[in-house]
Symmetry: C2
Subunit: 168 residues, 2 copies
């Protein structure tokens, strides 16, 4: 009886807490989705970010997300391959506990910003290709785009380099 009541209270507490976290995971998940991920990976990353403890085993993740084993498995493996998630183990416990790999996360974010180079290259190539164009007015406008793009690109590059230097 007492045990039952206690379990019930725990469940109620759990539930409200879980709901709160659920909401957070949901909204953070959407933000992550918008940076080009599918819903489930977004939710897993969100969950591992705000979960206390910050590591969870396979079935905890699956239970929280209410997703299938296969989905959780493949998604975790993708995230691990990407370096955003890793796992720890505890001796005498066969489970793997998945967690955010903050170093990998940082690298991924860094990598994103380095993408500035790609667009900068592209747009520079365009101007190179158009150098003998009859439409210098357009070229001049394009140059403005390239100027901005290089300006940002160089700035980001420098910032990252400085950061790396300071944190080595």
């Amino acid at each position: 009886m007492f045990a039952c009541k206690s379990a019930k209270m725990a469940s109620v507490l759990m539930k409200s807490k879980t709901n709160h976290i659920s909401e957070k995971v949901e909204e953070m998940g959407i933000i992550i989705e918008q940076m080009g991920y599918a819903p489930v990976p977004g939710r897993i990353v969100s969950y591992l970010l705000i979960s206390e403890p910050p590591y969870r085993d396979f079935y905890e993740i699956q239970g929280f997300l209410k997703a299938s084993k296969s989905t959780v498995s493949t998604t975790l493996n993708q995230l691990m391959q990407q370096g955003v998630v890793s796992y720890i183990t505890f001796s005498g416990d066969r489970k793997r506990y998945f967690q955010i790999n903050t170093k990998g996360l940082l690298d991924t974010i860094k990598q994103q910003y380095k993408q500035a180079r790609v667009i900068n290259n592209m747009v520079s190539e365009v101007l190179e290709h158009r150098k003998n164009s009859e439409f210098q007015r357009f070229n001049k406008e394009l140059k403005e785009v390239i100027n901005f793009s290089s300006y940002i690109h160089n700035g980001i590059e420098k910032m990252i380099k400085d950061w790396d230097k300071a944190h080595r």
Copy 2:
């Protein structure tokens, strides 16, 4: 006969040039796809960027892409709504000539970089949420991520502000 030969030569020339441009459009298209666009919009933007003249009518675009009228129509309208494409007209010619709106393109690129704020906010919120966590080691690692994220975010913000100031 002469006319025929000339047409043939033109066609051959055209073809090689078109192929060259085709390749470029294709690869630039992929880059643009990777920033979250579908293939056709990517190709249209690419085409208008490197085409000489830098404006093309509806049927030129359609013919070059070998896409359906409907696809071209809706895509052009989307791009115009986004501000990346606009059109010009010539008197005595009913056609619209579509072209890149460099100002709109610049704004779109700018907007992309401003997205840095979103991830920075999210990750800051995570730390706020975890402030009483038992896992200070993880929190410390997260702080590193946040530091980088804010650092880049502030840098980008400042760069854009400076750019806008200098180009007003």
